[in-house]
């Protein structure tokens, strides 16, 4: 580790033993108003700067400020970091920082036996215990202290004492106690302070007294660790061996935004993003709204339908159009999605999935919109569906979706989820030149044809816009992709009308002809099937053959691959594949399935991909479903496979 990352004021360290860990998991928990998410994000940056690999799981209530001290108001931020490859936010917590009794009550079960719990003892008063529905003070329970290493810190007292001359109100002082806790955690794991200092300076640049208070607490917390003999050991987590490159920490939702901006640059098209705020997709609107220098226009529509309608209108105008939402919004957009299918306009629809049905679990993650994405429209309305698998994979998935949309003149759905959107990980920043450009060739006047001519995309050059006998045929198709031409309004000679009524083949005129309808339904389906031409071969993670193949999609990738690693280490013959292109399904799966005895499909739903797989492959796929609003823990998948193989 470079010397610069060592805190400069840590020059008189207490003579504590240092235990080196390959990885650790910390969970900060407290009231949703306690600044838990900020604390977690700061620890994340400090950890990234220490060159650890990491994965995070913010977990917050749907209520903005739930009643203080209640269990349902507990906000959490879990961070798993290590010198090894980190794929999940961690199964078991090594250190729980509980700002109040409710935070302890909600999260105690996540702490491993023997793990550490740092509590703010000031919050464990009669009122706090009552709010958390504790009959007795859990800190007085000898069982707690025998099972866990409990570190009792009178956080509120310490913070008030440290800031008694700051001139800040009691309320402001109490709100800053997260910085003290952050300081302790940074000390405990030997994280550098610089990143948190820089961030704090930026955040409170306009409020010098608040800035001073926060920096004081950060440092006091750090020093508290070494002065108070509450800690028996400090931990060291060495830098991870990561591929060379420049890194940043990125959340999935940020990566989605960057992928869309990149696609705009690569296609040469302005980006239009129409959206209506909805958890957990709103941050995509917030992120994209920053990028006006790239010509990105964001439109906060009056509702979900207006959001997609405006995007379809923009797409008709020759723009890279995107709309984003979560499950309930997807439901509202479905009719308009069908319109995009019928009019064969490029459109990207981002669905950041959350627990459903109905309002469901707005802030919790789930993978339950897959069948909705693949089938959830009236009529035969196929469209490609892509699923991002990690926060950083969101970048390429968004780019790929845009490319498919314009290459195939089709709406494309991108599935992310709350875990991917809010979770962060180190991202090796890609070379923007590495992704290919996909300049869009709009239809030209020479594509109009005269009577008796064959309609082809590559028409003779001598056609002029003033050729009075020529007609533009908006539904003539590219022979390879079956894409229809994209005619930009403003182009003379290509005036045409489209809409939601069935189209006559080639002319695009209204047609109720029975044979034509069947032809058009088949053509639209075949076009979507041909998106397979763009797929990379399906890669097997692990050995090419074995006893169990785990078949995953979306945000479960980290947990599945971590489980494969653990199982393989025990000698189990387990591999996995992970689908980014969920629909149409890749056509190279059968030979892979042939090489494994058991086919297990882990999903955060009641069995959705498994239905698509059974339909296509008629094999005894085994479901592994978790529907708790939480991501898989690696151990859950590991245990399932162990049980499966042990019962043989």
């Amino acid at each position: 580790m470079p010397d610069t990352s060592a805190p400069s004021f840590d020059d008189v360290p207490r003579d504590l033993p240092v235990e080196t860990l390959p990885a650790a998991t910390i969970l900060f928990a407290g009231d949703s108003g306690d600044g838990i998410q900020v604390t977690g994000a700061q620890f994340t940056i400090a950890t990234a700067m220490a060159h650890n690999d990491l994965a995070t799981l913010p977990d917050f209530p749907a209520e903005i400020r739930a009643p203080v001290g209640t269990t349902y108001g507990v906000s959490g931020f879990q961070l798993h970091f290590g010198s090894v490859d980190i794929r999940t936010p961690g199964d078991e917590v090594d250190l729980l920082v509980a700002m109040n009794p409710a935070a302890l009550k909600v999260n105690l079960h996540r702490v491993r036996r023997g793990g550490a719990i740092l509590v703010n003892t000031d919050a464990f008063d009669a009122r706090g215990l009552e709010l958390a529905r504790y009959d007795t003070n859990p800190l007085d329970d000898p069982a707690l202290k025998s099972a866990y290493q409990v570190i009792e810190v009178p956080l509120t007292t310490l913070v008030r004492e440290a800031l008694k001359d700051s001139g800040l109100s009691h309320k402001d002082i109490d709100r800053s106690k997260n910085m003290f806790a952050l300081g302790i955690a940074l000390w405990l794991y030997q994280r550098p302070l610089e990143a948190a200092v820089t961030w704090t300076e930026k955040r409170f640049a306009k409020k010098p007294e608040v800035l001073a208070a926060n920096l004081t607490l950060l440092h006091k917390g750090y020093h508290y660790g070494e002065t108070v003999e509450a800690f028996a050991v400090r931990y060291e987590v060495a830098p991870a061996a990561m591929p060379g490159g420049t890194y940043r920490a990125i959340r999935g939702i940020e990566a989605l935004a960057l992928g869309l901006v990149t696609a705009g640059v690569k296609s040469g098209l302005p980006v239009f993003y129409g959206s209506y705020p909805i958890t957990p997709a709103s941050d995509l609107l917030h992120e994209l709204a920053k990028h006006k220098v790239f010509g990105v226009v964001t439109y906060q529509a009056e509702d979900e339908i207006a959001a997609i309608g405006s995007a379809i209108g923009a797409s008709f105008g020759g723009v890279l159009a995107v709309t984003g939402t979560s499950g309930p919004g997807m439901a509202l957009k479905t009719e308009a999605m069908g319109l995009a299918v019928m009019t064969e306009l490029p459109l990207v629809i981002v669905d950041v999935q959350r627990g459903g049905p109905s309002t469901g679990l707005p802030t919790k993650t789930e993978q339950s919109d897959l069948l909705q994405a693949v089938f959830g429209r009236n009529g035969e309305a196929p469209m490609p569906v892509l699923a991002a698998s990690t926060p950083s994979d969101c970048y390429e998935t968004a780019y790929e979706a845009c490319k498919i949309a314009v290459d195939y003149m089709t709406p494309v759905i991108v599935l992310a989820d709350g875990y991917l959107a809010n979770g962060s990980e180190p991202w090796r920043i890609p070379d923007p030149d590495a992704l290919p450009d996909f300049p869009v060739a709009f239809a030209t006047p020479k594509q109009a044809v005269r009577e008796g001519e064959v309609a082809v995309v590559d028409a003779p050059d001598e056609r002029t816009p003033e050729d009075n006998d020529a007609r533009f045929l908006p539904y003539v198709r590219d022979p390879q992709t079956l894409a229809r031409p994209w005619a930009r309004p403003g182009t003379r000679g290509l005036e045409h009308r489209i809409g939601g009524i069935e189209k006559q083949h080639e002319t695009g005129n209204v047609s109720y002809d029975p044979a034509n309808h069947q032809l058009m339904v088949r053509l639209r389906a075949e076009k979507v099937d041909r998106v397979r031409q763009t797929y990379a071969p399906t890669a097997v993670n692990g050995a090419d053959e074995g006893d169990v193949l785990l078949i995953g999609w979306g945000g479960t990738r980290g947990a599945i691959e971590a489980a494969v690693e653990r199982l393989a280490a025990k000698g189990r013959r387990v591999s996995s594949i992970h689908l980014r292109n969920v629909w149409p399904l890749p056509d190279d799966l059968a030979p892979i399935f042939d090489r494994f005895a058991h086919l297990v499909v882990p999903e955060l739903n009641n069995g959705q991909l498994i239905r698509l797989l059974r339909d296509a492959h008629l094999r005894p796929f085994i479901p592994l479903d978790k529907i708790q609003g939480l991501p898989f823990r690696t151990a859950e998948i590991e245990a399932f496979v162990d049980a499966l193989l042990d019962q043989e």
């Binding site: 405006s310 797409s315 159009a321 005129n509």
Partner: protein, 429 residues
Amino acid sequence: MSDPNELSPSTPEQPERPVPTLPPGATAPRRVGTLPPGFASGTKTPASAPGPADARPHPKPAKLAGLPEGPGAPAVLPPRPAMPPAGGDGGGSASAADRKAWATDQDVRWCPGCGDYAILAAVQRLMPELGIERENTVFVSGIGCSSRFPYYMNTYGFHSIHGRAPTLATGLKTMRPELDVWMITGDGDALSIGGNHFIHLLRRNVNLQVILFNNQIYGLTKGQYSPTSEPGKVTKSTPYGSLDHPFNPLSVALGADATFVARAMDRDPKHLTDVLRRAYQHEGTSLVEVYQNCNIFNDHAFEVYTEKATKPFSTVYVEHGKPLVYDQGRKGLRLDGLRLEPVDLTGSAFSADDCMVYDETNRELAHLTIRLFDAPEHLPRPFGVFYVEQRPTYDALVQQQLAEVQALRGPGDLRALLHAGETWTIGNN
């Protein structure tokens, strides 16, 4: 079917029909070079849809004649051309050939006698005289009888879904402000299923024209009452009479801060054309409600305003700067407190000088005038341009903000964007 790629065997047995509605380039049969294998066999270019097409003469294919030379869409929104003086039936100096260039070769499929024909004719008449080009013009519609309109305009067109035309039109105009966008909608489309989008379009003031065909009935679904139907209306869905209170689309529009609010009717094409011309000239969302007769499901709905015997005393045409006088000068409207009161101008008590002089920039007056609606037996129904306000348009503001941010911060640099925030480097990269 054994081969999923084969079309239904019934295809070849389809009776041969003349295909007069096909554009020349699509005449069947001919080789279809772009079909994938498996689709070509036995495939004919399908005939036109069944329908009462044979009952009407088939318009000849439109010509692209008369278009000036020049490149496609201008990059910058040009100022709208000054209007030539109106004249003749419905106004306009466009020749028949000019008008024809704006019509498509598609059969118009509205019921014979429908008021929509007159509105279509007025629009097709107006277009050539506006000095605009077909390729820069887009008609966007929702669902309903009126929303078939774009198919008959030889421009770019989008027949979208029920109630959602404002959303498409907004997205299009926001990103392509140099295009002329017209939105076609009806009382069900705009005020019922699309009511939300309608008010938000108006408050945003997107620079486009809305023609709202109000026939006070659902036509395409065969005759249910609409949000503008009168109370007690007996329809298929209200055999004992409708209990719904109808609303006044123009009051809704003013309530939503619309910047151009007008009313015309299908049976007065000259006035309709004049109002549409003014709507086009206005920068912002121009709402033109058109009373349109549905002779199948709601015939005579506006008869009192359109027929010679009753029209004079049942209607008042408002004009900016002119007193509110009607019935060939025999009656007028006078401001009495906060309401407009009809007065008799034939006696000695009142003259035209006592009548309210209309001011289309006065929102309160517009409100009062538009509310000549609640007691139709005593008051004339007003027509004309009721309210005009100059307010920045949404599309212009969006483009302006983009330009300002780009001027301030320079063009986007993708590499810099990806590297934004805290970064760290591992190895020699």
